[in-house]
Subunit: 173 residues, 2 copies
């Protein structure tokens, strides 16, 4: 079903998607789709979350600081891209119970946890994941959703510096 | 038009809202609504932003710290309520250009700026508004949208403490 959505979206564009069309492509009846997903928005929400799932563990750059800086740059790029924004909106929109939104956050938490485990193995001090979500992930997501503004490497490095206790929270100008 | 939406929502519930119904209540033709708003989601987005507009300047509790703590508690309460969550979702989702999302953020920024001006008048040191958005507003909004979790007074006080340089960013357990 996810593949049918992806294929049709690539062929026809997003606004052309309908449940009967998707069902036909997937070789099932529309009622099968409605039984499983309720409506098109819920199906698109599930597809979006699946696309937001990281496909690899975060890269190893030799130190927690370098790993976090690289991860934050990549996260900001992916989530602020046109595709990323669409997936985040879909994930939030078709999901009254917030289960899909929580899955998006869990993906980030899992990647940050993996970085932390690796750093602890090197003997580095590691901030807890909730701190990293508050200090690094939340400001990036807030800017992406609410406040189109600076997402430069200087800014993501600044957020990582705050999380690691190297910088005061004062925003860079 | 906004009043028509509010009245019908109160009478019939949100899921019953349609453009023809809203137009009839407002005494206009449906095509008038479509010309102005495109579709129901865009109309609901505008109504939601209007409801998220603060109706008073932030209360004066005698110090920046007390003002920010009280503001953060109120912001967390309002935005995490069922109504608040619905308005945020409506504002974000019926708004492909992100103008309404930016207006939501501007409301918070204006309130924080007013707190800052008052505190500067008392001779207090004041963090800039971008820092307050990153450190106080963003983590609250991230938790509300993505990560149902602690929004206690202890948590909002902690965020204010970080913004004022009184606490390290480490999340309270």
């Amino acid at each position: 079903m996810h593949q049918a959505v992806r294929d049709l979206e690539a062929e026809l564009g997003r606004d052309a998607l309908t449940v009967p069309l998707i069902a036909a492509r997937a070789g099932v009846t529309p009622s099968t789709v409605y039984r499983r997903w309720g409506d098109l928005r819920e199906l698109l929400s599930d597809v979006a979350v699946e696309r937001l799932r990281p496909d690899a563990p975060p890269a190893d750059h030799g130190s927690l600081r370098a790993d976090l800086e690289a991860w934050a740059v990549q996260f900001a790029e992916e989530m602020s891209s046109t595709a990323g924004r669409t997936y985040i909106r879909d994930a939030l929109l078709g999901d009254p119970e917030q289960g899909n939104a929580a899955r998006c956050s869990d993906y980030a938490a899992e990647q940050l946890k993996a970085l932390g485990v690796r750093a602890a193995g090197r003997g580095e001090a590691v901030p807890d994941v909730e701190t990293l979500l508050d200090v690094v992930v939340a400001p990036l997501m807030y800017r992406i959703l609410f406040r189109p503004s600076d997402l430069s490497v200087a800014y993501t490095d600044h957020l990582v510096g705050v999380a690691l206790g190297r910088s005061a929270p004062l925003s860079p100008r």
